[in-house]
Symmetry: none
Subunit: 414 residues, 2 copies
Amino acid sequence: MTSIIITIGDELLIGQIINTNQAWIGEHLNLINIRVARMLTVGDDMHAILGAFTEAWSRTDVVIVTGGLGPTHDDITRKAVCTFFGTEMAPHPEVRKQIESFLEQRGRPWNAAAEEQSFCPKSAEIFPNPVGTAAGLRFVRDGRYLFVMPGVPYEMKEMMTQSVIPFLAPRAGGQVIRRRTLKTSGVPESVLAERLGNIEEILQGASLAFLPSASGVRMRITVHAPTAGAADAEVARIEGRIRAKAGKSIFGVDDEELEQVVGRLLKERHLTIAVAESCTGGSIAARITSVSGSSDYFDRGVVTYSDASKTQLLGVHEEMISAHGAVSEPVARAMAEGIRRTAGTSIGISTTGIAGPTGGSAEKPVGLVYVGYADGKESFALKFRFGEGRNRVVERATSAALELVRRKLLKLDE
Amino acid sequence: MTSIIITIGDELLIGQIINTNQAWIGEHLNLINIRVARMLTVGDDMHAILGAFTEAWSRTDVVIVTGGLGPTHDDITRKAVCTFFGTEMAPHPEVRKQIESFLEQRGRPWNAAAEEQSFCPKSAEIFPNPVGTAAGLRFVRDGRYLFVMPGVPYEMKEMMTQSVIPFLAPRAGGQVIRRRTLKTSGVPESVLAERLGNIEEILQGASLAFLPSASGVRMRITVHAPTAGAADAEVARIEGRIRAKAGKSIFGVDDEELEQVVGRLLKERHLTIAVAESCTGGSIAARITSVSGSSDYFDRGVVTYSDASKTQLLGVHEEMISAHGAVSEPVARAMAEGIRRTAGTSIGISTTGIAGPTGGSAEKPVGLVYVGYADGKESFALKFRFGEGRNRVVERATSAALELVRRKLLKLDE
């Protein structure tokens, strides 16, 4: 099966928005063995949209369309599919009900936009939008399929995951593709590659991609095989070989995030944690609490930007701050000890550093960060140099703090 | 003048890489008044590439092609342009010299890849790649233009900026395009549209797009005019009309973020702020401190996940929590008062709510959030219903808290 992805929106053509939808859709179609033959973007223009539909429909099995389903005047995709399939808009009671319940749950009133979105092309099959008001449309003709979804990424993703992929997967058949991503944090790509050694010998025809970002390097294995069983076995074999060489650096797989792994380890061990942040400004707390159920192990965080707050909330002595500076190893350690003591948790972690772009000096340059750690047995702080870029420094420091906790919990450095 | 952007690469079709090139090129063509009619992505496949060239060349003035110029086996774009324009590859002494000097400067030896890249299509005009080895190709036929550049973003950007844009700008002539984005937070798209009323009457031929996200709705004005002066005046006229009807909801323009606006307002007024977060888990502090220089007005934040921490750090009475629950109007207010008092800041803000997906009940459903506010004169809490999706609830609550501070600082609700 082949597919063409059509994304609609003037904002894409003028470059105001980077088209993340088409990459996401491409990736997910690929995983169910539907090859993407092309991706096409056109503006909010009837002639251009109809041209794109005509071209795509004549040359592929599956057409995925996103964008232009909203209630405002520039959203004309529904009119375009009506024209293309020779049908017309009609009130759709089921969609109306979905929108009503969606608005009701949010305490929002019925309005003209909702009224308009409750109309759908007569000959379309409808699939629900669990997180928005624009319903999905599916047209089936002679074993070919055209899907229409909104362009809002999180709405599109929910609809792809809940409706489009489950509909298409059994119809796609053929070879099986499996992917698995092994995630690391705090180890450069070159060091990982060195640890793995002769990678072709490990892969034996499969492929491995190194995907670096500020929070760490992901290693993605891709395997093609005639059956699901063979593909899974091959992925397991390769993962085993990689783990034998770089297992300590791998914190999780696929969609697992470092904060989820740390959360699970804390929960399993019945431990609790509290955080004292300076340069990371709340990012560590935000990442820990992004995990549902984190209230089981996360007690509190403090963001002590002022020196006074470090003293008042964490008991860091003023003399220590004036002797060593707020960005220093002793202050990082005292912050970790202080938050652990005041919160009464098993573990305390802390950060203090210079996120930049201002505030750096020759002695303490932008990117210098200390990450502090305290538990019942020990306390210390590690020194890092995270380079430039305020957001990047914060992201790297946040990941370093979480990775430090993971390594301590698993006793990886002992 | 119109253009079509063709991006080539299997890695784009399988979603391994998000296509940032096409957005960047689209934006920069637009600013010299070249309208992008469509964007097309195809794989590293001769048939697909030739098909894309044929389609694009027959219907537009300018075709921009990126990708598939590298030295590896799957990069076949140069062969495709040879076939398309009926020419052949030949050694190109000037390109050879550029590559030699590029490698020499970096202390890298001449190799097979360099040798291959020193060949170019005979009938192409060449433009330099100042940061890589793959030269740019330009074909001119009957007043139409086709450009070929590598897909590596920083190479493409240098070549666009130094060669393609300067070549096209004087040929594009004609109209000037101006854009302006008015950003709002906390007002649904449909309500904004209603407030604006008859939008066509305001626009008089210009265009307005509503771009919603979890943090708010952006309204983007686009104006075409014969001169820069006329375009600027038209943008100003439309912005004035929109502000007259929805000015209070507009927190900033273009790249301005809500946290920057709030930061600037606090700084101008010599005010300070502290934050007490429960359900937002540190996100408000993280957004405030993402602004360089925020230490001037941000004193501290606390993330009080446990009831004990609300009592200990904020002085919220245990009895109040047990009487009303941690997610309640009185607790939100007491948290805002508490953080303001202990931090000694001008303003305190707070959040308490149910981010989900667990923890909701009929009475207090997922998405229920109270945002608390306290200053020297008053304290109160507002109730919100943010729907579902943990990250989305946090993002919306964070934006709502910042927007509340903005409105209070500007006395918009009085």
